[in-house]
């Protein structure tokens, strides 16, 4: 490749950012707000102080966990949209541990994490079982299971696990102190949660790249029939892929309740399942790319709350920017493929 075309390639790969900014700028101009003010507010809201940094990191950790898990299911050609439900089930299992096992901090946190993984894995595997034995497509199965999990969560918060003073949308009573992940000084970030998210990315990276299991999932994702005929045991691989993704989503649930909230809340998943699906798509199922993309998404989310306070704009603008980046990346990806094809055609002696 010639140096100038390599530079062009690099510049093209950055093109989605100005494109997405252009789109949101137009949107802001239409509603009569100053785009520069809006972007400054978002950036300040996300990065102006260590406390803000901590918020961004805390917000990105569950996204990283879920998106890393989805790299597994996407590689296997599975659309695991049941991540929301898997987060919730992880949180529910961990909450049971926090309420019932009054142990010291290390054993109780360890057990909560393991219970969260179990809950998420079971819920993920259930979507897989429905697909294999019930012929329910995983998209429908996953969506259905999300609603079931949400219903179970609300029932638990309003009935057996309601607060001493009465049921409320605020969630359950706070956990006993040992069931809280310790924070870093007086910042709202739990080092244990950071470790869990980074470990998830590393483990998924090596599972997908270096193991038979990962290779078999890749084969299934590219051509299910051939992989089966070549001897890949597709049913167990599919179920373990769902369970592995579910387990990581379950950990995300634990991180939210034990690392941030200290109790079980009705909006524990809060749309993270769908947001992390976009992150995994944007990362093209490569776990190493999940981290920067998740940080960007989290910064948009944290920073855009400032819009409401300072500019009377809806904080949904952050979501608009996130979504337009995803669309712009897809669009530019399509253009680059087209350009590469054209260039090959134009190389003439």
């Amino acid at each position: 490749m010639k140096p100038d075309s390599r530079l062009a390639n690099f510049l093209l790969s950055l093109a989605p950012i100005p494109l997405a900014l252009l789109f949101t700028t137009l949107l802001l101009l239409i509603v009569g707000a100053s785009p520069l003010d809006a972007y400054r507010n978002i950036l300040q809201g996300a990065f102006e102080s260590p406390a803000k940094w901590a918020d961004v990191i805390t917000a990105c950790l569950p996204l990283i966990l879920c998106a890393a898990g989805m790299c597994i299911t996407f590689t296997a050609g599975l659309w695991n949209v049941g991540v929301e439900g898997q987060i919730i089930m992880g949180a529910i299992f961990a909450t049971w541990v926090a309420r019932n096992l009054l142990w010291p901090q290390v054993p109780v946190l360890t057990t909560m994490i393991l219970a969260g993984m179990l809950g998420g894995a079971l819920w993920g595997a259930l979507a897989g079982l429905l697909k294999v034995y019930g012929k329910v497509h995983e998209i429908f199965g996953g969506l259905g299971l999300n609603y079931v999990a949400q219903g179970l969560l609300i029932w638990l918060i309003f009935n057996p696990w309601k607060r001493a003073e009465g049921a409320t949308m605020q969630g359950t009573d706070p956990f006993p102190a040992p069931a809280w992940m310790p924070h870093l000084g007086n910042l709202r970030v739990a080092p244990l949660a950071v470790f869990l998210a980074l470990a998830a990315v590393v483990v998924v990276f090596f599972l997908l790249r270096g193991t038979r299991w990962g290779l078999e999932l890749k084969g299934m994702g590219k051509n299910f029939r051939s992989a089966f005929v070549l001897g890949v045991p597709s049913t167990p691989r599919m179920l373990t892929a769902f369970a592995a993704c579910g387990a990581l989503a379950g950990v995300a649930g634990v991180v939210v309740i034990s690392g941030v909230r200290g109790r079980l809340i009705p909006e524990v998943s809060g749309g993270m399942g769908y947001l992390s699906l976009l992150i995994a798509l944007l990362a093209a199922y490569r776990p190493q790319w999940v981290i920067p993309i998740a940080i960007f998404f989290a910064a948009m989310g944290v920073g855009s709350t400032r819009l409401e306070l300072n500019m009377q704009l809806d904080s949904a603008l952050g979501g608009v920017i996130e979504a337009s980046v995803v669309l712009a990346v897809m669009l530019v990806g399509g253009w680059r493929a087209l350009l590469a094809q054209r260039r090959r055609q134009e190389v003439q002696p």
């Binding site: 193991t211 290779l215 590219k222 051509n223 005929v229 070549l230 001897g231 002696p349």
Partner: protein
């Protein structure tokens, strides 16, 4: 119209499908394009007809340089191609398929289209019912429809890629008459892509031979066959060798087997296949032989009867048990069911290495792939994605992936679409396996292949096993009768 292809290069990854090919097509000439599988014939023609764009090289039409970005642009300049598999819309009727080609208005003029279809059809004695659905047509009739479509679009250069595969003998006679008329009477140029020497001899005025992506020779016909063979393969073919092997113990035992399917029910199959035996399965397509073969691999649901593998009953066992018992199945759809497009050759070796460790040893798999590539003479690298290989090399890769010491090898059309040399080579590999005691069961539509390679042939008709014959004392005619549902010699 005169078409020149100059120095065409087309690479797929490291595979040089076309490596500087030049070719001139004159009006009124049937031009044969000959070469073994993977020689680059189809790629060259796809470049000419706009399905692919060459990496470099020039195409001139009547002296003017052209670039085609789509088949539609090529057809506009009068160049049209007929593919190995007809590219039509099977759900639509013949007339609609025909109209789709040129009448793109919201309300197409069906009456005019119908008249035009009849007029061109009659000119070439093609009898197509405009109201029939394309699914009900034979491959030969679909080919006729494609030719009519290209003619209606005004194609001056008509390219046919292996057009005689899958069509009946009378259809072939009609096709050849049509092609002669298109060239000799109407002054169009015809490109006939084939690896069948006999057909090229019968039909073509001029022949260009490709090998490994390069032109190895050109000849005016008639031309001695030995010279063509030498240009194709670089040397003359050794005579096929037949090693008789004493059949060993029974490997596969079928008793009263019934296999249901949507279209056809296979019933009452009794069959024994011995170690070291080659059993051919004959029959018209859809007579039940494929269902039976897949049932023997554990890939079809069996409703009655028993399958025994080396004495063990495995009738309802999962596919995995069959694999563990030493059964291998090579499907006809190489990229559909056999190999995984998007994975490299080395990745295929790692994937099928069932005894490999949990953490893949990539260096070792790379090495193993390289060894097999050399041993099986695959044109490619360990890093080559399988979809970049030619059909013949994909078949070699499938064979290379088979584990050693198989008990039963099941194959659909093991040499379909391959040239004589590749086919011979593949059978040498298979014969080496039978000498190790592997039983081979294969489906073929090629009667010569069935008779030449099998010990016994099981003939299927309408879902039943109608006869089992000894291949050594059966003639092509007798086998033909049996396949058509008649008694041999009747």
């Amino acid at each position: 119209m005169r078409v020149e292809l100059i120095e065409i290069h087309k690479h797929f990854g490291p595979v040089r499908a076309n490596d500087g090919v030049s070719l001139t097509l004159e009006p009124g000439v049937i031009h044969g394009l000959l070469g073994e599988n993977g020689a680059g014939k189809t790629t060259l023609m796809k470049c000419l007809s706009g399905y692919q764009t060459p990496d470099s090289g020039t195409i001139r039409v009547d002296g003017e340089k052209v670039t085609f970005r789509s088949p539609a642009e090529a057809v506009q300049r009068g160049i049209g191609m007929l593919h190995q598999d007809p590219l039509d819309f099977p759900q639509l009727r013949v007339l609609d398929n025909f109209l789709l080609a040129f009448d793109r208005r919201l309300l197409p003029d069906r009456r005019r289209g119908r008249a035009l279809l009849r007029e061109i059809g009659q000119r070439f004695h093609f009898e197509l019912d405009p109201d029939a659905e394309v699914t009900s047509l034979t491959v030969g009739e679909r080919q006729q429809l494609e030719i009519l479509r290209l003619l209606a679009l005004g194609a001056q250069v008509i390219i046919l890629d292996e057009p005689t595969t899958g069509i009946s003998a009378p259809q072939r006679v009609l096709l050849f008459a049509t092609l002669r008329r298109l060239a000799e009477e109407e002054g169009r140029s015809v490109v006939f892509v084939s690896h069948k020497l006999e057909e090229v001899e019968q039909l073509c005025h001029r022949v260009t031979v490709l090998r490994h992506g390069r032109v190895t020779g050109e000849a005016e016909m008639p031309c001695p066959v030995e010279r063509l063979v030498e240009m194709m393969f670089g040397r003359s073919l050794p005579p096929p060798k037949c090693v008789p092997v004493e059949p060993g113990p029974v490997v596969l035992h079928l008793e009263g087997l019934s296999i249901p399917s949507d279209r056809l029910v296979v019933e009452g199959i009794n069959l024994e296949v011995h170690a070291g035996e080659v059993m051919g399965l004959a029959g018209l397509e859809g007579s039940g032989q494929r269902l039976l073969l897949r049932a023997c691999a554990g890939l079809e649901r069996v409703t009655a009867g028993r399958i025994r593998l080396a004495g063990q009953v495995v009738t309802h066992a999962p596919y995995r048990r069959f694999l563990e018992a030493g059964v291998a199945y090579l499907p006809a759809g190489r990229l559909e069911e056999g190999l995984i497009g998007g994975l490299t050759i080395a990745e295929h070796f790692a994937l099928t290495n069932r005894k490999g460790p949990f953490f893949v040893d990539w260096a070792a798999e790379q090495e193993r792939a390289a060894q097999h590539i050399a041993q099986f003479r695959i044109v490619g690298q360990p890093e080559t994605p399988v979809e970049a290989l030619s059909g013949g090399n994909q078949q070699r890769t499938q064979l290379a992936l088979l584990p050693p010491n198989l008990r039963l090898l099941l194959m659909e059309h093991p040499t379909r679409g391959l040239d004589v040399e590749s086919a011979d080579w593949i059978w040498q590999q298979l014969l080496a396996r039978r000498e190790e005691g592997t039983a081979i069961v294969f489906i073929s539509a090629d009667l010569d292949e069935l008779l030449e390679r099998s010990d016994r042939i099981a003939v299927f008709f309408g879902g039943r096993l109608s006869a089992i014959v000894d291949a050594r004392c059966t003639t092509v005619e007798q086998l033909g009768y049996l396949i058509a549902g008649k008694e041999a010699g009747a």
